[in-house]
Structure formats: structure tokens, C-alpha cells
């Protein structure tokens, strides 16, 4: 967090490689296990089959096997580097504890190629199952699942989506850039509001002040996660993902897209980007270099790191004493950013779906749940009380804006 | 000794006052020393008050 040291180029690439694998696992898990049941089985299917096992039963073991295999690749790559897929214990200040052998690199490269193909398959599946079904398209475009807010996402110097490094860009309800900020400036842009009925705080754009749960131009509410990242960027840094990015906006009527359920599509565009990026890194000969650690020498102090978790922008802020013991921490994590939007989206969908005189069926209530599911929310993270998924890597800047250190996250 | 010092640090982090755990050297010939140690220790503990009620409830948690 706060050690004055830059990881070696190899360590940075390995962390990004591991993080891309993590994105692949997480996005596949969300799309197929958490979201797909609503579309493949149908929103009002029997709850006992409206789940991933039902989906596998319906699409067949062959496709189901592909889903399982590619999510497993994501996990396997993380375990290869970090020892374990969940909570890898691998990154440390200045680098990582274990490198990649040439043999492993080749293995990763093969898996990455396969993931690129599988991501394209998933986009095709989405097209076939969802976009070719008029009822679903109408649902996605309906007012009950539309929420007009600002959007936030991490971008590189070309304003392309980056999960791992860059600046936070925030665009307004028209898609125009409001501001772009580096990690150490986060307190000037984002603030959090407390409500007595929930343990989770409500972040908002500080400049506009807390105005309650109000959407539309001028709102202080912003969204994060895949749809927001697409809206807040000018494109994807890899070629195939860029094609789908363009198709996404061409189909849905230009930027920004305010349709909550479109996030599932956006997530798959990101999946393709993560797979392509994984492949690029796996083909980079520097990843097998043994230079994986720069030993920190300076005294730690304070740092802020920001990166994109699958579920939204993560901000971690730590202050330490001279021994590197944490004395204060502040975290705004993935899903926390979406607390207000999710609340609003649920209310809107409930108002649109539940009408006087209707019998309140399980399927109806599930359609209300579909509004939040689109955000792939993680409330464990959000209520860390405060901080969410840990970044694979966080850049830490000192008060003069110098890069002080990069810190790793362990897979979300 | 090294064990005792590390233990003291851990106990302190757990909120156990240093004075509650004492290490003393008393030989078999030092009856008076022993009595003095116990006298002092008892006084110290009376000043500190009971350990348990201040700190933890058995399977505590509510509230």
C-alpha cells in the first residue's frame, strides 16, 4: 500500500494476467450461474429449476461443460500463480512471490485462446437467446428497467476501459465527461451518505451534493460495474471487444445506455476484453522473467489505490505508521457504488411490474429481483462495511502525486 | 523468558493488562519473598478489578 516501490514490469504483467483470469471466472460465473437462469429458464420459471443446474439441463451438457471448463480455466490460472484460486496469497509490496515458467506460460496461452473463443460464443448465445427474443428485448428497453444516472469507470490514457490501472472517468446522463480523477483525489469527487434502514452507505458525486434517490439530468447518483464502464469509456483496448462495443451501442441507440438489464450484454463484452487481454499478456515474453520483486526500502505512510473489480470501482485508502502498521483505512468498494442505483432500479421495476389487482406471484417478485441481479451485486463486499473486493493491484500515490507503490489485490 | 515476553505482547493486544500475568523467581529458601509477591500481586489485582466481567462474556455477543 504505501511502500515506495514500483513492482517489476514482470510482476505488474503477472498481476494483470492473474486479474484478467479472475475477471473471466467472475463474469462467467455471474452470467451463467446468476443471470442466465432468468433468461434461459424464464423469469417466472419454477424456482426449483431457475438456477444454474436448470440452465445446464436446458442448454445441454455439452455447452454446460464448456461453461464449466472456461470458468475453471480462470480459476486454474489464478491458482497457478497465487497458490489458490480464491484468496491467492501471492502478491506482496514490490511484486509477487512466484513467477511463471515457460511451460506454464504456454498452458496459459492455450487456455486464453480457448477463452477468447468461448467469450465470442457467449456473445452469440446472448444474441440468440435474448436479442432474438422480442419479449426480452422489450423488457430490456422498457421504462421499468431504465435508470438515468451518471456513470463511472477506470480508463487508460485513450479513455479505453482498463480494469487495472488508469484514471477514474465520470460521465453525465448525456455521456459527456464530467471529470477524470486520480486515486489520491477521490475525496474531492465522491462522498457517502448514511441511511438508518441499511448497513450499506450510499455514495454520490460530491459536487452535486446528496439529493436523495433522484434520477435524471443533474442527479448526484452514479453507477459503476460493466454497463457503467462501457458508458464511461470511449471503447475497448482489444479489437474483438471493440467490435462488440460498437455493436452494443448501435443496437441500443447510442451512448449512454440507461437500460439496467443491458448490463448483462456489457458484461459479456468485458469478458471478451479480459480474454483477449489475457492472451496478449500470455504471449508477452516478459511474463516469464524471474525478476518478480523489487524489495521496498522506504518507510511506508499513506496511499490510495483504485481499480475495477468485476462489480465496480474499488477505492482503498490506507494510512500506516512508520512500521507499516495500518492506522486508518477507508474503502469504497464495487457494489457500494451501486447501492443507490440498485435501490432505485428495484423500486422502478416494482412499480412497473406490480399493478393493482394482480396476484403477487413468485415470478413477479423474481422480475423485481432481476433489476438488482443485473448489477451482479456483492453485498458481502459492499458491507465490509466498507470496502469491497480487494484490488489485484492498487497504485498508491503520495500527497505530491508521485507513485509511491502498487499494491496487489487478491482476487476478488 | 522469550516466550513470556511474546506472550505478554499477545495478551496486551487482547486487552489483558500486563500486570495480570507475572513471572517471578523464588527459590525454595525464600518463603518471605513468596509471601511478598502474593501480597503485592493481590493488591495490584484488587486495583485492576475483576478480569472477566470487564472484558468478555462467555459466549457473549448480543447487543
Amino acid at each position: 500500500m504505501v511502500y515506495g516501490v514500483e513492482p517489476t514490469p514482470t510482476a505488474k504483467k503477472l498481476r494483470e494476467l492473474c486479474y484478467s483470469a479472475h475477471m473471466i471466472h467472475s463474469h462467467i460465473a455471474h452470467f451463467y450461474a446468476l443471470a442466465a437462469p432468468d433468461f434461459v429458464m424464464g423469469p417466472d420459471a419454477d424456482p426449483s429449476v431457475r438456477n444454474v443446474l436448470g440452465v445446464i439441463g436446458k442448454v445441454g451438457l455439452e455447452i454446460g461443460g464448456e461453461v464449466i471448463k472456461h470458468r475453471a480455466y480462470g480459476q486454474k490460472i489464478q491458482a497457478m500463480l497465487g497458490g489458490k484460486a480464491t484468496h491467492p496469497a501471492w502478491t506482496k509490496p514490490g511484486g509477487v512471490s512466484k513467477g511463471l515458467t515457460e511451460e506454464e506460460r504456454k498452458e496459459v496461452e492455450e487456455m486464453a485462446k480457448s477463452c477468447v473463443g468461448f467469450s465470442q460464443f457467449s456473445l452469440k448465445l446472448f444474441e440468440d437467446v435474448v436479442l432474438k427474443n422480442k419479449a426480452y428485448v422489450d423488457l430490456i428497453l422498457s421504462d421499468g428497467y431504465k435508470l438515468v444516472t451518471n456513470y463511472m469507470g477506470l480508463v487508460d490514457e485513450n479513455n479505453k476501459i482498463n480494469f487495472y490501472d488508469g484514471k477514474v472517468r465520470v460521465v453525465d446522463t448525456e455521456g459527456k465527461e464530467l471529470f477524470k480523477y486520480g486515486p489520491r483525489e477521490y475525496l474531492e469527487y465522491v462522498a457517502e451518505h448514511v441511511e438508518p434502514h441499511s448497513y450499506l452507505k450510499f455514495p454520490y458525486l460530491k459536487k452535486f451534493g446528496w439529493q436523495g434517490l433522484k434520477e435524471g439530468p443533474g442527479t448526484s447518483i452514479y453507477q459503476a460495474a460493466p454497463l457503467a464502464r462501457l458508458n464511461a469509456s470511449d471503447g475497448m483496448a482489444t479489437p474483438l471487444a471493440q467490435e462488440h462495443y460498437e455493436k452494443f451501442y448501435a443496437t441500443l441507440g447510442g451512448k449512454p445506455v440507461h437500460h439496467v438489464l443491458a448490463a448483462h450484454w456489457a458484461r459479456l463484452v468485458e469478458l471478451l476484453y479480459a480474454a483477449e487481454r489475457l492472451l496478449e499478456l500470455a504471449q508477452d515474453e516478459e511474463v516469464t522473467s524471474p525478476a518478480i520483486l523489487n524489495i521496498p526500502t522506504s518507510v511506508p505512510k499513506e496511499g490510495v489505490g483504485i481499480l475495477e473489480a468485476p462489480r465496480g470501482t474499488l477505492t482503498h485508502h490506507y494510512v500506516t505508521n512508520e512500521k507499516g502498521i495500518v492506522t486508518a483505512a477507508n474503502l469504497i468498494v464495487g457494489t457500494t457504488n451501486n447501492n443507490a442505483p440498485i435501490t432505485m432500479a428495484i423500486k422502478k421495476s416494482a412499480m412497473a411490474i406490480i399493478k393493482p389487482g394482480m396476484e403477487i406471484s413468485n415470478g413477479l417478485l423474481n422480475m423485481v429481483e432481476m433489476a438488482f441481479r443485473s448489477y451482479d451485486p456483492c453485498f458481502s463486499c459492499a458491507t465490509h462495511a466498507i470496502l469491497g473486493e480487494l484490488p489485484l493491484q492498487v497504485n498508491v500515490y503520495d500527497s505530491e502525486g508521485e507513485l509511491v507503490k502498487q499494491m496487489q489485490r487478491e482476487l476478488m | 523468558m522469550r516466550r513470556f515476553n511474546l506472550m505478554s505482547t499477545v495478551l496486551e493486544q487482547l486487552g489483558v493488562e500486563k500486570e495480570r500475568v507475572r513471572l517471578e523467581w523464588v527459590s525454595a529458601a525464600e518463603g518471605t519473598v513468596f509471601a511478598k509477591v502474593i501480597n503485592e500481586f493481590t493488591e495490584d489485582l484488587k486495583r485492576l478489578g475483576p478480569f472477566k466481567e470487564k472484558s468478555r462474556v462467555a459466549a457473549g455477543g448480543e447487543g
Binding site: - | 529458601a29 518471605t32 513468596f34 511478598k36 486495583r47 485492576l48
Partner: protein, 68 residues
């Protein structure tokens, strides 16, 4: 705080060859010391694992004495 009536419970882990003898001598010599200590005789104070101390505290001791 009312502390007058409080009688602390002390667990004393005493070495058979040193302090246990000291305690014995104190008794034989009829030296006055408070009855708050419960003695556990060990063959050497080196036998006292930190676990003993933690266990004593968790079982209600207000103080623990390890004497060699």
C-alpha cells in the same frame, strides 16, 4: 468503583524445586499472605505453556503467577 469486597483469584504455577518450596516455607513459617492464590505445582516453570496461562484467564482467574 467499588473494589473493597473484590477478592481476586490468582492461579500460581510454581516450580516444584524452587518457588513451590518457597511457598511451602512461607506456610511452614506461618508468614501472612492473602488466600487468593490457588497453586498448581509443575516440575519446572519451563513446563508452563502459554496455553496454561490463557486457559486460567479464560476460566475465571483474575491474575496468573508463573514462578521459577
Amino acid at each position: 468503583m467499588e473494589k473493597t469486597s473484590f477478592e481476586p483469584k490468582i492461579i500460581g504455577f510454581l516450580c516444584n524445586w524452587c518457588s513451590y518450596g518457597g511457598a511451602d516455607l512461607a506456610g511452614v513459617s506461618r508468614l501472612q499472605y492473602p488466600p487468593n492464590v490457588r497453586i498448581v505445582r509443575v516440575m519446572c516453570s519451563g513446563r508452563v505453556d502459554p496455553t496454561f496461562v490463557f486457559k486460567a484467564l479464560s476460566d475465571g482467574a483474575d491474575g496468573v503467577l508463573v514462578a521459577g
